[in-house]
C-alpha cells in the first residue's frame, strides 16, 4: 500500500493543533477570570476572593503548562511537513509569528511566575498587575495567531509573485476581512469555555457541599457572564457566517449542505451528504430558513457546493456535521444560561441539583464546540491552504515520504497520549483536593517556580488521604 504523505500530514496537523487548541482556549478565558478575582480581592480584601483566585490559579498552571509544551511542536510543523507553504508565506507569517513570541509569550512567561509564586513576595498591587499582564498576554497571543489564520482564510494585503507572497500592505494583511469576526468569535469562545468550566466545577463542589460560600459566588458570577455572552456569541457567529458567505461561499454551502445554488433554501436539521453524487440523503429541514438566515430574505439566493469543480470542494459531510454540533452546543449553552436566570429569581440556582448536575456536564461542552467550530472553518477551506491561492497539495514538503510522515504521526500520538493522560490525571487531582486547606502554602518556597508546581498536589493519590485533605509533601 502506498502511503500518502499529504493525507498523513493533514491528519498529523489536525491532531497536534486540535490537541494544542483546547488548552489556550481555556486559559485565555480563565486568565481573565483570575484577573477579575484578583481585582476583587485587592479592592474588597475579602479572603473568599483570594481563596477562589488561588484555587483557579492552580488549575490555570496545569493547563497552561500543557499548552506551552504542545505549542512548541506547532512552531515547527510548518517547516517539517509544509515547507513549501513556509517558504511561500514567510514574508507575512514569519514576522506575525515572531511578533507573537516577543509580545505575548515572553510577557506570559515573566508574569506567570509572579502570579503563581509571588502572592506573599510582592505587594498586592504588583500581584494584581501580574494577573492582568498574564491575561493581556493571552489576548495578544490570540490576536497574532488569529490574524495569521484569518489571512490564510481571506488573504489580503499581499500579492503572489513566482510562488512567494509579498506584503503590499501590512494593515490590510493583518486586519484582513475575516480577522475581526474570527478574533471576536474566538474571544467569546474563550470566555464561554472559561465560564462553563468554572461554573461546572463550582456546581460539582456545591453538589458535594464543599466550600459552599465561595463556590456559590463563583457560580453566580459565571452565570451572569454566560447570560450575556452565550447569546452574544450566537449573534456574532451569525455575522461571522455572513462574512464567510461573502468571502468563502463554498464553505457556507458545505455548512448548509446545499449542493445547487438556489433560492428558498431550507435549513437542514439532518442529512447525509453524498459527495460522490453531489446530493443529500434523508434530508430533514425547515423550508427557506437557510435563505433567511444568510440573506435575511426568505427567497434569498444561497450558493451551492457544486458551483465549484469537484476537486475544489471541501469534504461536505465533515463541515456539515461539525457545524451542527457547534451550533447545537451553542444553543444548549444559551438554554443553561437562561435557566440559571430563571432559577436565580427564586434564589435556587445553587441548590437545584438537576441544574447543578447539568452544569457539571456542560463544563466539557465548550471544548467540543471550539473543536468542531475549527473543523468547520479549517476543513471548509479545503482543498485550499491559502484560500484561492495555494492548495494543501502545493504546500506539502517535497522531500516528505509517506513513511516519514507516518513515523512522526505515530510518534506524536504516543508522546501526547503519555504526557497528556498524566497531565489530565493530575488536573483531576487538583480538582479533587479543591479549595479547602491552604496549609501547604508555607512550604511554597520548596517548590520550583514552575506552572504545575504551583499546584501543591502529589502525583499519586494517598492511600490514607481523605476528602478535602491535601496529601503531605511529595518527596521532601
Amino acid at each position: 500500500m502506498e502511503l500518502d504523505p499529504l493525507i498523513l500530514s493533514r491528519i498529523q496537523f489536525a491532531f497536534v493543533v486540535s490537541f494544542h487548541a483546547i488548552f489556550p482556549v481555556f486559559t485565555i478565558g480563565l486568565a481573565s477570570y483570575i484577573a477579575v478575582l484578583e481585582g476583587l480581592a485587592f479592592k474588597t480584601e475579602n479572603p473568599l476572593w483570594v481563596k477562589l483566585s488561588a484555587f483557579w490559579t492552580k488549575v490555570f498552571a496545569v493547563v497552561f503548562g500543557m499548552g506551552v509544551v504542545s505549542g512548541i511542536v506547532m512552531s515547527f510543523q510548518f517547516g517539517t511537513n509544509w515547507s513549501n507553504f513556509a517558504q511561500a508565506s514567510a514574508n507575512f507569517l514569519g514576522p506575525i509569528l515572531s511578533y507573537e513570541v516577543v509580545t505575548a509569550f515572553f510577557l506570559e512567561a515573566a508574569f506567570l511566575g509572579v502570579l503563581l509564586f509571588g502572592r506573599d513576595k510582592v505587594p498586592a498591587g504588583v500581584h494584581l498587575f501580574a494577573a492582568i499582564m498574564v491575561a493581556t498576554g493571552t489576548f495578544i497571543s490570540s490576536f497574532w495567531i488569529l490574524s495569521a489564520n484569518s489571512w490564510m482564510q481571506t488573504p489580503a494585503g499581499t500579492e503572489l509573485r513566482d510562488g512567494v507572497f509579498y506584503v503590499t500592505s501590512w494593515s490590510e494583511a493583518i486586519f484582513n476581512p475575516s480577522f475581526p469576526y474570527r478574533f471576536a468569535h474566538m474571544a467569546l469562545a474563550s470566555f464561554l469555555t472559561g465560564g462553563f468550566v468554572v461554573a461546572g466545577v463550582s456546581a460539582w463542589y456545591l453538589l458535594l457541599g464543599r466550600e459552599v460560600e465561595a463556590n456559590k459566588k463563583a457560580l453566580s458570577m459565571c452565570l451572569w457572564l454566560l447570560l450575556f455572552i452565550a447569546p452574544a456569541q450566537a449573534v456574532l457567529g451569525d455575522f461571522h457566517g455572513l462574512n464567510t458567505l461573502e468571502h468563502q461561499p463554498t464553505k457556507v454551502a458545505a455548512m448548509e449542505g446545499n449542493w445547487e445554488t438556489s433560492r428558498n433554501v431550507p435549513l437542514l436539521l439532518f442529512a447525509i451528504p453524498d459527495q460522490e453524487n453531489q446530493r443529500n440523503l434523508y434530508e430533514v429541514g425547515i423550508p427557506s430558513l437557510a435563505s433567511f438566515i444568510l440573506t435575511h430574505e426568505w427567497d434569498g439566493e444561497v450558493p451551492g457546493v457544486s458551483a465549484v469543480p469537484v476537486d475544489e470542494q471541501p469534504p461536505v459531510a465533515i463541515v456539515f456535521w461539525s457545524f451542527r454540533v457547534m451550533v447545537g452546543i451553542g444553543l444548549l449553552m444559551i438554554a443553561f444560561a437562561v435557566t440559571g436566570l430563571v432559577l436565580r429569581a427564586g434564589g435556587r440556582y445553587w441548590r437545584t441539583s438537576w441544574f447543578l448536575q447539568g452544569m457539571r456536564f456542560m463544563s466539557i461542552a465548550p471544548f467540543f464546540a471550539v473543536l468542531t467550530g475549527w473543523f468547520v472553518t479549517e476543513v471548509g477551506r479545503a482543498p485550499w491552504l491559502v484560500y484561492g491561492q495555494m492548495t494543501q497539495a502545493e504546500a506539502l514538503t517535497p522531500s516528505l515520504t509517506g513513511g516519514m510522515a507516518l513515523f512522526t504521526l505515530i510518534g506524536y500520538i504516543v508522546v501526547y497520549a503519555l504526557v497528556f493522560s498524566a497531565g489530565v490525571y493530575y488536573l483531576m487531582r487538583v480538582l479533587y483536593v479543591g479549595l479547602e486547606d491552604r496549609d501547604e502554602d508555607e512550604h511554597e518556597a520548596e517548590r520550583p517556580k514552575r506552572p504545575f508546581s504551583a499546584a501543591h498536589v502529589p502525583f499519586e493519590i494517598d492511600e490514607d488521604e481523605h476528602h478535602g485533605k491535601p496529601a503531605s509533601q511529595g518527596g521532601h
Partner: protein, 333 residues
Amino acid sequence: MELFDLPLIWAFIIGFGIIMYVLMDGFDLGVGILFPFAPNEEARDTMMNSVAPVWDGNETWLVLGGAGLLAAFPMVYSIFLPALYIGVFLLLAGLIFRGVAFEFRFKARTSRYLWNWAFAGGSTVASFAQGAVVGAYIQGFETANGVYVGGALDWLTPFTVLTGLGMLAGYALLGSTWLIMKTEGYLQQWAYKITLPLLLAVLVVFGIIGVWTPFVDEMVRERWFSNLSIIWILPVLTLLCAIQIYRSVRDRKDGMPFVATMGLFITTYLGLVVSRWPYVVPPEYTLWEAASAYESQLFLLLGLLFVIPIVLVYTAWTYWVFRGKVRAGEGYH
C-alpha cells in the same frame, strides 16, 4: 535602493539568538544530562530547583529562533526542517518529556523514578539532536531550486553522531560548572569532581571534530589552510578558556568555571561561523539568497528594536529574583 544591508543585520541577530539559546538552555539541558549520575535524590531536587525558574524562559528563545528564521531566512527554515525531519521530531519529543518532568517529578512519589528518567532521557536526546543539527549544517544539504531533495536520514552520518556527542559533552560541562556556581556542600564538591573529566571529554571530542571538519568540505579546508589568517585566534582562545576552566576548578573558584565554559562555547561557535560564512544553507545558498523580502525584514526589525529590550529586562529580573545559591530542601526565596 535599500538603505541597509538588512540580511546582514538579521544574520547577526539570529546568530546572537542562537548562541544565547545555546548558552542558556545549554546549562539546564546539561543539568538534565548529569541527572542520573547525581550522588542522591536530595541532590537531584537541588539540581532541578537550580534551573526550574529559568528553563522555560530559556526555551522561549528556541521558539523565537524558529519564528525568527521563518521571518528573516525562510529558506533556512524550509530546508533545515524537512532535511532534519526525524531529528526534529526527536528533539521536540525530548523537550516535551523533560518539560513535563519538571512539572510532575515534584508531585510524584512511587513513580518519581519515571520522571527522573524522563528528565534525563529527554535532556540527553534533545542535546544530541541539537549537536547533530550543527554537524548537518557543516555537512551541507542536497538541494535543488531552493528545496531540500535529499533523503530522510541523510543527516545521520558518523560526523553528525560525533557532533551530537560533542554537544552532549559540552552541555554536560555547562551543567556541571553551573552547579558549581549555584550550589554548595557535597553537591558542589561532586560538580567540581566531574568537571575536569568532562572538560577532558569536551576537548577530545571538539578536537576530533576540529580536525575532521576541514575534510568534510573543501571550502572549509581552504578557509582554514589556504593562508594563515586571523581566524586561527579562535581555537587559541578556546584553548585558553579550557586552561582557565582547569585552573579555576583547581583553585575552587565558584563562578569562573561557568564563565570560562561559556567562553569556550562562544569561541567554538565563532569558529564554526567563520568556517561557513556567508553560507547559511551550505553548500549552495548564502544569507542574502536565503533572506525574506526587504519589507518583511524591516517590519519585524523595527518592532523588535522596541520590544526586545523590554523582554531582556523581564529576563534579567527573573534571574535577579532567583539569584544566589540554591540550598538542599530550601528552594527559592
